[in-house]
């Protein structure tokens, strides 16, 4: 009965997949290959509708509740164009979002929008699942922090997570200093008020790139910098009709060095985070993880990033073999001495900034929503959303199964490795 099938196909209501990030929110439908919308996580100000407020700047729970109600209203009726209560929802959430945030979002979804089932997916697991594999070393560069998290055979090795404030926020703060120093036609005082966060973000996106490792060595020493060959040409940037600003080209390659401060004992660096994380992982997983690095998040989409990262990793690793004296940790050197690693980075079927969302869309299109989704009934009765860090969910034997299940992309029983 082809006609009947056709109707069934049309009536099938794919779950809504939402990833509300600190800076950007992605929303779309399960089973699709890209989000329908990718918008800043902001709502218009109550007092002044021309201004916006970021969701993360909430004052308290009731303030957040209100903002989320307004925000989801925009997503449903301006972008997704579906009736909220008709569809299940898959939420892709950061592993480290506060329980206040989580609980408030749950209340907004279940109580205000009357959603019957919500599947809560940790974002790094979603990211892994978008590769089709079940093992990856997830490097998630978000707004406020960068995370390195190993997932082995679908199980998150949570105790080995590395986190540093190397997100786009830090990047932009650093970029702002560089912009102020390298402006050729405006004084610092004139320029400062023009450099809004949006302008800095735009310059980051359009001008900056991650330079070659050889040039980076020269860049790190100010006395060598003038010897760089070729020198980058200055560039013009139009802030608005009245303000054309000109900057020295060198900042274009300098900005991204914030991620690679390997020599700075105070600073943090992405390659070190990755190696630290690897060093702490069980020895039999290290090789596999080193060759399954997965980059998630929009900030690392700068040209040259992946190429530089693998080279940095290789370089540090080979230097470790020679036991150079300037490394912080003896043990660290010890762990990497025997055996060489091959560092490889996943090439995902989608851009890095949508990797987490895509994972959510894949989960959402499967039976997982029905199997793992938390129903409105359950939430009303228990007032909790089962969670890996909520002690209430881990106390009863049966619900321990939940936390296991939640940490495995393939589900309890099926995907769990034998050892666990």
């Amino acid at each position: 009965m082809p006609l009947y099938e056709g109707i069934g196909l049309i009536n099938e209501k794919h779950p809504v997949v939402l990833e509300i990030g600190q800076a950007f929110t992605k929303a779309g439908f399960a089973g699709e290959s890209a989000p329908r919308c990718f918008i800043p996580s902001t709502v218009p100000c109550k007092d002044n509708p021309t201004q916006v407020r970021k969701l993360i700047d909430y004052q308290d729970e009731s303030d957040l509740y209100q903002m989320l109600v307004d925000f989801l209203n925009t997503i449903y009726f301006k972008h997704l164009l579906v009736t909220p209560k008709d569809r299940k929802v898959a939420i892709v959430e950061s592993l480290f979002c506060t329980s206040q945030w989580r609980h408030t979002l749950a209340k907004v979804l279940y109580l205000h929008y009357e959603i019957l089932t919500v599947l809560w997916i940790p974002s790094h697991l979603a990211a892994v699942c978008s590769t089709g594999s079940d093992t990856a070393l997830v490097v998630d560069v978000g707004y406020s922090e960068a995370l390195v998290l190993p997932v082995v055979n679908g199980v998150t090795l949570l105790s080995h997570v590395q986190s540093q404030d190397l997100g786009s926020k830090t990047f932009d703060e650093n970029l702002k200093i560089l912009l102020l120093e390298n402006c050729t036609n405006k004084s610092k005082e004139e320029l400062e008020p023009l450099l809004t966060p949006e302008v800095i973000e735009d310059i980051r996106l359009r001008a900056c790139f991650v330079t070659k490792i050889r040039r980076a060595q020269l860049l790190s020493d100010p006395s060598f910098a003038p010897n760089l060959d070729p020198q980058l040409k200055p560039f013009k940037y139009e802030i608005d009709g009245d303000n054309f600003v000109e900057f020295e080209g060198i900042l274009r390659e300098q900005a991204a060095e914030v991620w690679f401060k390997n020599k700075d004992p105070e600073g943090s660096s992405l390659p070190y985070m990755i190696l630290d994380c690897l060093a702490s992982c069980p020895i039999d997983t290290r090789k596999k993880l080193a060759s399954s690095i997965l980059i998630a998040g929009g900030t690392p989409m700068l040209p040259g990033f992946k190429a530089r990262l693998v080279r940095e990793l290789k370089k540090i690793e080979s230097e470790l073999g020679e036991t150079k004296p300037d490394f912080k940790d003896e043990k660290f050197t010890e762990k990497f001495r025997n055996g060489t690693y091959e560092f490889r980075i996943f090439s995902c079927p989608i851009k890095e900034n949508c990797v987490n969302w895509l994972g959510g869309a894949l989960y959402g299109a499967s039976e997982a929503v029905n199997l793992r989704g938390v129903t409105k009934e359950f939430f009303m009765k228990n007032e909790i959303v089962p969670d890996w860090c909520n002690p209430g969910c881990n106390s009863v034997t049966g619900i321990v199964g939940v936390s296991n299940a939640a940490s495995s992309p393939f589900g309890s029983g099926v995907g769990l490795p034998k050892g666990l």
């Binding site: 209100q66 164009l81 109580l111 895509l358 007032e383």
Partner: protein, 521 residues
């Protein structure tokens, strides 16, 4: 509208706790209660294109991913693109020496001057294109991963179903004390399923090592950076599949549709607002604005000097009856009580102490001490009864229902002035369309006390009210809280019972907050 109905001056307190001007409040004729945007449930009613005003049935809209089939957006600035025609000379097929004019079409933006030629798209022979659209080159691979996942999930589902058969057997035997308390969806894993190997994935994303990831080319270092040739974030985010870096790779996209919404009362699940289907119509099939059902109150003269705590002042309010039936309005002290459950009786509603959305004004909501009466009383008056009745059981179930289904929003406000309620009711005749245009229409005589009602015309009247400022901090602007009680004739009951019943006359309350220091314009 904004000044006519004094958006900022007079606020009606909705059942959910929102404060709204009368034109933003709805009145559910079945529940006989105020509703607002916040506490009704919103639904997508119909899809249409905002540019060509074409309706699109929901199924088609879904299939076309909510995009109009004919209109395109400029990828550079998001304005609507227009179709331009151009003529070229082409040789005739039969006689190559002869040239004929042929029309070709391309897309152009009238705002930023982008054209489909900038994207390298060839001109089309048809006005409708087709124009290339951004597509994820790896969409097929995503489908393969998706299929793999579905397969895994089905495996898991099957393993669980087996498990449940066993579990229920035990349950029947009553061996497991706690097991039945666990939600069905959280079973422990099954050993035999655990040992089975996973099927191989259909597609695995490739990994790239040093040899696959070359360093940046020399062009990056030698070429001058021209910012307008690099796409901005918003431009990239409109083409999520490809997110091109060069502006030359931007492609036109089909225009996103808009929706008309309908609103539904959460308590009785009936429509409160339903638009007409036609996108060009701004009318509604159902539109239960409070503006047509609840007495309208405006501040005619504000305070002429600041009101000191403890002191009295006189204000003038203007009342209007928008309904087809006469009404009698009585003024009462402010008696709004936010929806609240008794705590222990039901776990489902939220604890008002923990949960108190939205801060709006400076101080906490302070209720005057004399408000022990329930929030809004609906008293049914049967023809035989005169005067006020007692609270019916129907009303308490109604309020119980509201507690469960209405989202609560206790907007904070400060209410620092009280009314000294006049003893008399003010009777207002029904609205008569023609009287609005007739300056000499006879004003009915209601034997008003001139000290209470100084002016009257058709369905409108002015009233003097004495207000007294509470003995609290006098630095805040004066806000009067007032409750009005009025007659409402419920015609719905008569309609639904097919005229068996008489229209029912009920006594309703509305709660208002009036900013006394704002000058009505």
């Amino acid at each position: 509208m904004s000044h006519l109905f004094q958006l900022d001056t007079v606020k009606y307190v909705c059942c959910c706790g929102s404060l709204k001007p009368i034109c933003n409040v709805y009145f559910c004729r079945h529940c006989l209660r105020l509703r607002c945007h916040y506490c009704v449930s919103h639904e997508v009613d119909s899809h249409y294109c905002g540019n060509c005003s074409e309706n699109m049935p929901s199924a088609e809209a879904k299939q076309k991913r909510n995009r109009c089939g004919t209109c395109y957006d400029c990828p550079s600035c998001k304005q609507t693109l227009s179709i331009r025609a151009t003529t070229i000379q082409v040789p005739l097929e039969d006689e190559p020496e002869k040239l004929v004019a042929k029309k070709l079409y391309y897309l152009a933006c009238g705002f930023c001057r982008w054209t489909s030629r900038d994207a390298g798209l060839p001109d089309s022979q048809n006005t409708s294109g087709p124009w290339a659209e951004p597509e994820n080159p790896l969409a097929q691979q995503i489908i393969e991963i998706s299929d793999y996942f579905r397969m895994l999930a089905i495996r898991e589902k099957n393993s669980k179903d087996k498990k449940f058969v066993q579990k229920s057997k035990y349950l029947a035997a009553g061996r497991h004390g706690v097991a039945h308390l666990l939600p069905r969806r959280y079973p422990v894993s099954v050993p035999e399923e655990m040992s089975k190997p996973l099927p191989t994935p259909l597609y695995l994303a490739p990994t790239e090592g040093m040899e696959d990831l070359p360093e940046l080319s020399d062009d990056v270092y030698e070429d001058e950076l021209i910012i307008p040739k690099v796409t901005s974030l918003t431009q990239r985010l409109r083409q999520l599949e490809t997110q091109p870096r060069e502006t030359s790779k931007l492609l036109p996209t089909h225009k996103q549709l808009l929706v008309k919404r309908s609103l539904r009362c959460r308590v009785c699940e009936r429509n409160i607002s339903k638009p007409e289907y036609s996108p060009v119509s701004i009318k509604f099939k159902i539109q239960l604005n409070a503006y047509f059902h609840v007495p309208q109150i405006r501040l005619m003269t504000p305070l002429n000097e600041p009101l000191v705590p403890g002191r009295k002042a006189r204000i003038v309010l203007r009342l209007a009856n928008p309904t087809q039936f006469p009404t009698a309005i009585r003024f009462l002290p402010f008696s709004f009580v936010p929806l609240q459950k008794d705590g222990s009786t039901d776990k489902r509603a939220l604890d008002a102490g923990k949960f108190d959305p939205t801060r709006e004004s400076s101080t906490d909501h302070s209720l005057p001490s004399h408000t022990l009466t329930p929030t809004t009383s609906i008293t049914f008056i049967t023809p035989s009864m005169t005067g006020g009745g007692t609270l019916g059981s129907g009303e308490s179930t109604q309020i119980m229902k509201e507690i469960h289904v209405l989202p609560r929003r206790s907007e904070r406000f400060s209410q620092n002035c009280d009314v000294i309620p006049p003893a008399d009711e003010i009777v207002l005749p029904p609205r008569d369309e023609t009287s609005d245009f007739d300056d000499f229409a006879e004003t009915p005589d209601f034997n008003d006390d001139p000290k209470l009602v100084p002016w009257r015309k058709a369905n409108k009247a002015a009233v003097y009210l004495d207000v007294i400022r509470q003995l609290t901090d006098g630095s805040e602007p004066p806000v009067l809280g007032i409750t009005i009680e009025y007659d409402y004739v419920n015609t719905i009951v008569a309609l639904e019972s097919k005229g068996v019943q008489e229209p029912q006359k009920v006594r309703l309350q509305a709660h208002l907050l009036i900013a006394l220091d704002r000058i009505p314009s």
